[in-house]
Symmetry: C2
């Protein structure tokens, strides 16, 4: 009998995609679905957080609440959207203190307000362990929507902020390294709402997604959507200063930067002829925008490391896969 353990999460999504019939402008497979509501698109995204596999030790209830809202808003950001509201469904045990619920909802509320929206509703159910599901809705002008598809050969590959900080925070918590800022980044992700809206309005972005599952996984996802290959230079990737504090070994550092994820930065492609606009855009949003490579029409996705070209492996976090011993 074929079980879900023999598929990966992405393959399971393809199973679902084959069954579901929908004629919305953007359906399964992008950061959000988009529906036509007159002169705008309505954006919707949902994300389930399972305590045991998704919530690192060291995260308190406030952080958990903040994260749930942040990861959903990050999907709205990846489409260039303005958030309209967030609903949160909470599965929680009878034994959880009321305090825990209050702090968690505090985190949800604060994150939503910080990014210009609010918690508008939800559901609460008794469950054997803590499980959360958030859904964010947003809107975007039709000509400003950012999609995973759309890159063309020669486009530049750009990231917001820096990578590896959340991963460094994870290992800091695990090993007691006290990398405070990195731990905060992991516990309280920062959705790039403003950045997404500015990028959507700029007219120079050809494809975009958020880096929730790691840079390599996101590169593969953009590549799958455009049908083109991507070439990135490891030396160009903006790395969090904590990466070399988390690991001395260069290979472990590389793994953190390329594959860990949870940074919730935006990865996008843009028209090469607009490269000169990057500085102004970066200043406008108050966030670094760094070119890390280019879109090509090669055979495979490439990582340039110390001048050496190697195949970029897709090693992002994926559920269901039964790891082989």
């Amino acid at each position: 009998m074929k079980t879900l353990g023999t598929l990966g999460e992405r393959e399971a999504i393809r199973v679902i995609d084959r069954i579901v019939k929908s004629d919305v402008p953007v359906g399964i497979g992008d950061d959000c679905a988009a529906m036509d509501i007159g002169d705008k698109y309505l954006l919707v995204t949902t994300d389930m957080m399972v305590t045991k596999t998704h919530i690192p030790k060291g995260m308190g209830p406030y952080d958990i609440g903040w994260s749930l809202v942040a990861v959903n808003l990050s999907d709205i950001a990846a489409m260039g959207g303005r958030p309209l509201g967030v609903v949160t469904a909470i599965g929680i045990t009878k034994g959880h203190p009321i305090d825990f619920l209050e702090q968690m909802v505090d985190g949800m509320n604060d994150c939503a307000l910080r990014f210009g929206t609010s918690i508008v509703g939800g559901d609460t159910k008794e469950h054997e362990d803590l499980i959360l599901c958030g859904t964010a809705v947003g809107e975007v002008d039709k000509d400003k929507i950012l999609l995973r598809k759309g890159a063309r050969p020669g486009d530049l590959i750009v990231v917001t902020g820096c990578l590896g900080r959340a991963g460094s925070g994870f290992f800091s918590l695990k090993r007691g390294l006290s990398l405070k800022e990195a731990e905060d980044q992991l516990k309280r992700p920062w959705p790039r709402i403003k950045e997404g809206m500015v990028l959507g309005s700029s007219g120079c972005v050809t494809s975009c997604m958020d880096i929730s599952d790691g840079l390599s996984a996101s590169i593969f996802e953009l590549s799958r959507n455009s049908g083109l290959t991507h070439e990135i230079d490891y030396a160009l990737i903006p790395k969090a200063s904590e990466v070399c504090l988390a690991f001395q070994d260069a290979e472990r550092q590389k793994d953190l930067v390329l594959n860990f994820g949870d940074d919730f930065e935006l990865l996008f492609t843009m028209k090469r002829e607009r490269e000169a606009d990057l500085a102004a855009l970066s200043e406008q949003v108050g966030c670094p925008l760094t070119v890390i490579g280019k879109v090509t029409s090669g055979e495979e996705n490439i990582l340039i490391d110390n001048g050496r070209r190697e195949k970029l492996e897709n090693l992002g976090y994926e559920h269901f896969r039964i790891r082989k011993a």
Copy 2:
């Protein structure tokens, strides 16, 4: 230490409501949240389904998928809305057969299409047992929205369809009574989308909600929202024919009709002077609309049974409450 077990689900929602700050036109506490999007309201609702407490034995994966979508669409119906799309988050074990996922998604897809909408996206996560979270979005003209508040003294209390069928289906499955139609009603709830839209457009409805948690709980909820009391006559309640097949005992029958829930009918109040319009509205939607009582300004909600007036008890299904021995 105060835990969630000492609160009920509704009290937990009040805890959340006290913390959350939002200025949307309709927030926590109605069937859906409503957000302003120009000349319409955007409606959003979310519902988590936990296998062990929410999914009766005898329901297959197709039924589970159908139900998840149906209960969310029922909330859109209760606000008079037109559904725009549904997203579903699925927590599922590695050991579930792929077949199971396929049939469940089939049920989701069929239910959405049946009610004029579609599954537009979702999330899939590995979890120790099956847990589902659906979110529906919809829209409604601002002047046609149906809310839980708004009833006035003298208004008539009306229900769509009949009550007790899903509950009869539950006991039929449990005891092997083979009440096929009742079991189907339980397994594949029928959201009153068309009915809600027609009622919203009629201009005669003053408050509305769906009866997911049972008639008594819904009466109390409308009462809490209007600040008025409600008086219903047991003899007037349209009862499913299966109720007397499920139980011979009149008290058990009454409990089923008043408290079981899961029928997903609409309960609404309407202007008394429009009573004559009910027949035409009923014909338009192809569904019985039955007056079962009236809105009053008394001391408590009243049930008239065989001419005897008694206090209506709020015995609807509620989570978290630790039952006293």
